[in-house]
Subunit: 156 residues, 2 copies
């Protein structure tokens, strides 16, 4: 089972994604903070993702480029605020196609009877930004991202 839950309450400026992984959080933390893994889980399968930069330290920049089959490029970047292995990552996120619209992401990894509860909290500058993200097909992308991460974590 281990399905992804996506919560986006009306009138709030946040999206909360949770999933239970059958793996210790140390392992998940290692997978998600290693640039080599990003192309294999970050985003939906039909896009190709390249890591241009991923400096996993406070103030470090990350920048990923995504390409569709037609060769269109989509760029994303942000800066890490906090990296606390194996439980917490806080960073900013901006889709460069919507320059100036920034969100604050918090990834939390909690022990849960030998499994790990993964929580991804995204808070947006406005409700409109949050709703725009939902309308961009983000839910499907998040489901695939979590499935891909699970495959990767189990394979390791």
């Amino acid at each position: 089972m281990n399905k992804t839950n996506i919560i986006a309450e009306p009138g709030k400026q946040e999206i909360i994604i949770t999933r239970l992984f059958d793996a210790p959080r140390e392992q998940i933390f290692k997978v998600i903070t290693d640039p080599i893994n990003i192309p294999n889980w970050w985003g939906p399968r039909y896009l190709t993702t390249k890591v241009e930069k991923m400096e996993v330290k406070p103030g470090g920049m990350w920048r990923y480029l995504q390409y569709d089959k037609q060769g269109n490029e989509f760029a994303f970047h942000g800066f890490y605020h906090q990296i606390s292995a194996p439980e917490r990552l806080v960073y900013t996120f901006e889709f460069e196609g919507m320059s100036g619209h920034v969100l604050l992401a918090t990834i939390k990894l909690e022990n849960s009877n030998g499994k790990t509860l993964y929580t991804d909290l995204a808070v947006f500058q406005t409700i409109e930004d949050r709703d725009g993200m939902l309308q961009s097909g983000m839910e499907e992308g998040a489901n695939e991202t979590m499935e891909r991460l699970e495959e990767l974590v189990i394979r390791k």
Copy 2:
């Protein structure tokens, strides 16, 4: 008049502070991004503020120390996401006394008939964090901060 407005709607995880300044936004942007000015406007008057670090560039860290009359120290830090003179600053903010609780701040400076509308949007990870900030006496501090900034901008 030029009074400070503080908006914190129930059920939302944001605080919006606005104030109209009788000065061009270039001047305000310059004042707020220069470390030398921070001790003269950032925070309430009864605290002494020192800039430990203020690297005004994307990914750059800022860290301020505040002291009360008894010598108690309060530390704050964050990282800049965006610096677009003279109109926009986006950065993270953490009070180290509440470690792990981070907010995303966006300062916007808009022309308004020769004056400048200053907007400070703070979005919190949770409503509880937002409400905790309000209960900490933040409103009084914000009013004084805006008064001090006005004095400084007019003096320049």
